[in-house]
């Protein structure tokens, strides 16, 4: 066999394999993507909560996208405690002012950033939350202070529709 002929064959093999691989990927992708959140799941993107009954020092837990959301009406003490913390003491530095635009209201996903358990209210070494699963302690701003969780509890997109209603999502 001459070298020239071999090269022609090589080209055909490579081209065929490449087209085949693209075709296979095109078939495989729908099989993978079908597992992502479907339209009906995505449609449940926002929820409105009436918070008029919430008194300072109490937490309301509501379900949003299948996850609990903590709505905490903080006392002045808690706000002062959260705002007096030095940034260098934080594992995931975030100002309380950025987490709670209206200092009285702290709205965040009640999901531990370690492995997704729901932390308990008014527990732990920092008077905020404590995750019973693997022992993460959060402060009164929901920031991670001690334990295996890497980040602060996430603040979702939310707004006050009126004085008594919060829209999450």
């Amino acid at each position: 066999m001459s070298g020239k002929k071999t090269k022609r064959r090589d080209f055909l093999f490579t081209a065929t394999t490449a087209v085949g691989a693209v075709g296979a990927a095109a078939v495989v992708w729908p099989m993978i993507d079908q597992m992502n959140p479907d339209a009906s799941v995505k449609a449940l993107a926002s929820t409105e909560v009436d918070v008029s009954s919430l008194t300072p020092g109490n937490t309301l837990t509501v379900l949003w996208r299948g996850k609990p959301v903590f709505i905490r009406r903080r006392t002045q003490e808690e706000i002062d405690e959260a705002r007096s913390v030095k940034m260098e003491d934080l594992i995931h530095p975030e100002k309380d002012e950025d987490r709670a635009k209206n200092p009285e209201w702290l709205v965040m996903l009640g999901v531990c950033t370690h492995l997704g358990c729901v932390p308990l209210n008014d527990k732990g070494d920092y008077n905020g939350w404590f995750c019973p699963c693997h022992g993460s302690h959060y402060d009164t701003s929901g920031r991670i202070r001690k334990g295996p969780a890497p980040w602060n509890m996430e603040v979702p997109k939310y707004e006050f529709v009126n004085a008594n209603t919060i829209k999450i999502g």
Binding site: M35, N36, P37, V41, G66, H114, L115, C117, P132, P150
Partner: protein, 420 residues
């Protein structure tokens, strides 16, 4: 092996066997020459086959009554327990069967560790076994999610969240696994599908595992290569069949004890509370057979490194044939390895114990020491031991130490009788 000379006696048999040599296979399995000194630790392969078949049969029957839907799964399990004829029995066999399966597989794995069954030329058998073990863990985990109790839900949440430790793509992977923004109905239905699929994958791998075993043949307590067939071997049938059968009966007594007298002792009461995404149970614990790895996960204070440590603890087993540098297989002739072997057994039991305890204070400290030792055993002790250890003289055949005739064999005989 006499496989290729085999010819069925009947003409019909010959006709069939010429077209599909199933009778040759049956003959191979019957005559398969087996070391005559196999002890009862070698009966767990058969016991594991029994466990797999039991799980498949009970699983199929449960699937006829179970409803994979977040709103109905919990009730359908109660329906199985209360209304379905013998539903309680089938479910208890299936649930405890998972525990029995792991009990047997741990004995099987530690048998291999003691007698060096993972060493050349049996590395592929060993690696296939580790893949089977990984699939077993996946199947058990997903099966535990199906009753949709509190432990199901939160176990699923915690384990799937392990993937969120992967940098950049982690969160996307978790959402993809869930089919939503939390563990919910789409998660349940796909777990049911995969839980149904995996046992058949395991079945296929078991066939490969046994096929790979039948190439070099069984290892044995003395750990030497033997001639096959020879006076060192006996045919699989009836010798091993009867021995395996007797061991299986003993095993079934233990199995039946759990099913009939303590069916919930290995489970968690919290799983009889329906899943509630708003409340995490105070103390989440996985099933007992995953506890050592859970302890390793929790002993590392960093999320990503914890997950890496846990996965490494399992995957390190796959490269064990190359970490253990000793040419001698059986611990019978390795006085130092034998001691380190038992330390490892105790270490894993300690990890299992602290895995069930809260991750704080002394428990956390013990978990960290035990985790460090686990890796030390495989990464430092085993490679070094192969060069440093002064091993005992190994007999030339299984028969020799029994009949005598070689100067260095009395020691070997003593050593062997001690462990049996």
């Amino acid at each position: 092996m006499s496989d290729h000379d085999y010819r069925p006696k009947s003409r019909a048999g010959q006709w069939f066997n010429d077209r599909l040599p199933l009778l040759t296979l049956a003959n191979h399995l019957t005559d398969y020459p087996t070391p005559k000194n196999l002890n009862y630790w070698w009966t767990f392969g058969g016991i594991l086959t029994f466990c797999l078949i039991t799980q498949i049969v009970t699983g199929l029957t449960l699937a006829m009554h179970y409803i994979a839907h977040a709103d109905m799964a919990f009730e359908s399990v109660e329906h199985i327990m209360r209304d379905v004829n013998y539903g309680w029995l089938i479910r208890y066999i299936h649930a405890n069967g998972a525990s029995m399966f792991f009990l047997a597989v741990y004995i099987h794995i530690f048998r291999s560790l003691f007698y060096g069954s993972y060493k050349s030329p049996r590395e592929i058998i060993w690696i296939l076994g580790i893949i089977i073990y990984l699939l077993m863990m996946a199947a058990a985990f997903m099966g535990y999610v199906l009753p949709w109790g509190q432990m199901s839900f939160w176990g699923a949440t915690v384990i799937t969240n392990l993937f969120s430790a992967i940098p950049l793509v982690g969160e996307g992977i978790v959402t993809w696994l869930w089919g939503g923004y939390s563990v919910d109905n789409p998660t349940l239905t796909r777990f049911f599908t995969l839980h149904y699929l995996i046992p058949f994958l395991i079945l296929g791998l078991v066939v490969l595992h046994i096929w790979a075993l039948h190439v070099p043949g069984n290892n044995n307590p003395v750990g030497i290569d033997i001639k096959k067939p020879s006076k060192d071997t006996v045919p699989f049938h009836p010798y091993i069949v009867i021995k395996d059968g007797f061991a299986l009966l003993m095993f079934m007594i233990v199995f039946a004890f759990f099913v009939f007298y303590a069916p919930n002792i290995l489970g968690h009461a919290d799983n009889y509370i329906e899943a509630n995404p708003m409340v995490t149970p105070a103390h989440i614990v996985p099933e007992w057979y995953l506890l050592p790895f859970y302890a390793i996960l929790r002993s590392v204070p960093d999320k990503l490194l914890g997950v890496v440590a846990m996965l490494s603890a399992i995957l390190i087993l796959a490269v064990l044939p190359w970490l253990d540098t000793s040419k001698i297989r059986s611990a019978v002739f390795r006085p130092l390895y034998k001691q380190f072997y038992w330390i490892l057994v105790v270490d894993v039991l300690i990890l299992g114990y602290v895995g069930a305890m809260p991750a704080e204070g002394l428990y956390l400290l013990i978990a960290r020491v035990a985790t460090a030792y686990y890796f030390l055993h495989f990464l430092v002790i085993l490679p070094v031991l192969g060069f440093k250890e002064k091993t005992l003289p190994v007999p030339l055949s299984i028969t020799e130490p029994v009949l005598g005739g070689s100067p260095n064999l009395a020691a070997a005989r003593n050593k062997e009788s001690k462990i049996e």
